[in-house]
Symmetry: C2
Subunit: 191 residues, 2 copies
């Protein structure tokens, strides 16, 4: 779940701030697991500083699903919503500063927010955005070659490529580390 509540919906700032006191600030090293695959998500996670990824283990192969950076908020959506074991591990890539808001408070916050007249529209907008995000990823797999997918990432989200170790990006693109390396050198040759 990817919210940018404060920046995108300033009218909600008072709500958000009210729950600041319930957030637990933690500083963690790189590769710290914030939520293990199979565990039930119990917090909303807000990235103050650093960089995280959501990933899962597939027969010993580590597969990255998404990256998160400063000001991103997230949970393992399905797990958080339905109280089911998380399909993903959430772990830091860099040393990071994280705020954790326990689920009970998230629920209270939601209940309060639902009285805000704009809330329905905000929810619709946020939901639509997330839906379109995954839809575009999905369509890209049907439509594009791995090389094109890498170029798209380079054009649309260069910060990911700059900040994230390459083998994570390879698994995110659905290809092997070796092949991503080949794609890069092939693109360098073309120029």
């Amino acid at each position: 779940m990817l919210f940018h509540f404060k920046d995108k919906f300033p009218q909600l700032t008072p709500y958000w701030d009210k729950y600041l006191e319930f957030q637990k600030r933690v500083e963690v090293t790189a590769k710290t697991v914030l939520l293990g695959e199979g565990k039930i998500s119990g917090h909303y996670i807000f990235v103050e500083k650093g960089c995280l990824r959501a990933a899962f283990n597939n027969n010993g192969n580590d597969k990255t699903v998404q990256f998160f950076f400063e000001k991103d908020g997230l949970t393992s959506f399905e797990s958080f919503l339905k109280n089911t074991p998380s399909l993903f591990t959430i772990e830091t890539i860099e040393p990071s500063i994280i705020y954790l808001l326990p689920k009970t408070h998230v629920n209270n916050l939601m209940a309060e927010l639902s009285r805000e007249p704009d809330f329905l529209n905000i929810i619709l907008e946020v939901s639509a955005e997330r839906q379109l995000h995954y839809m575009h990823e999905f369509v890209s797999f049907i439509r594009d070659t791995p090389e094109q997918r890498y170029q798209n990432l380079l054009n649309e989200k260069p910060h990911i490529i700059q900040r994230v170790p390459q083998h994570y990006i390879a698994s995110y693109l659905g290809i092997s580390r070796v092949h991503l390396s080949r794609i890069k050198s092939s693109l360098a040759r073309k120029k």
Copy 2:
């Protein structure tokens, strides 16, 4: 946008029925285009009988994104929401009976629905479902081989494989028609 309003949320039936009179019933042959790629979506589409697909043209290659059957409701979500050109064509696969509800009425219906106390939760549930649908498709591309994706489809949505021409399924799986044919005969040999 995939709603099963009537079946899943019986409390909304009166609203739905009230707008029945504004729906236009059409009977169309196979391969009828209901919404062209690049056009702006102006209707909510409900499938009474038959089978549709959403697809797009990629350098002359036809790529299928999703299939729809009886009781599915749909629009080109992004186009409908933002009044932007649709990324997808929506067309019939079989001769079909379709109900079309013009956008203005959809908006009115939404406005009325938003007064229903359950509506926020319903919207959340529907949105979450759709988000998870696309997320699972996306994860499947990262995780699974084409052969596994075909088997998943066979296990989870056999009606698609039974009803839809094979070359549409191939493009939906992100592979060539020839390769899907290979996968099928390889699976047949294994058994």
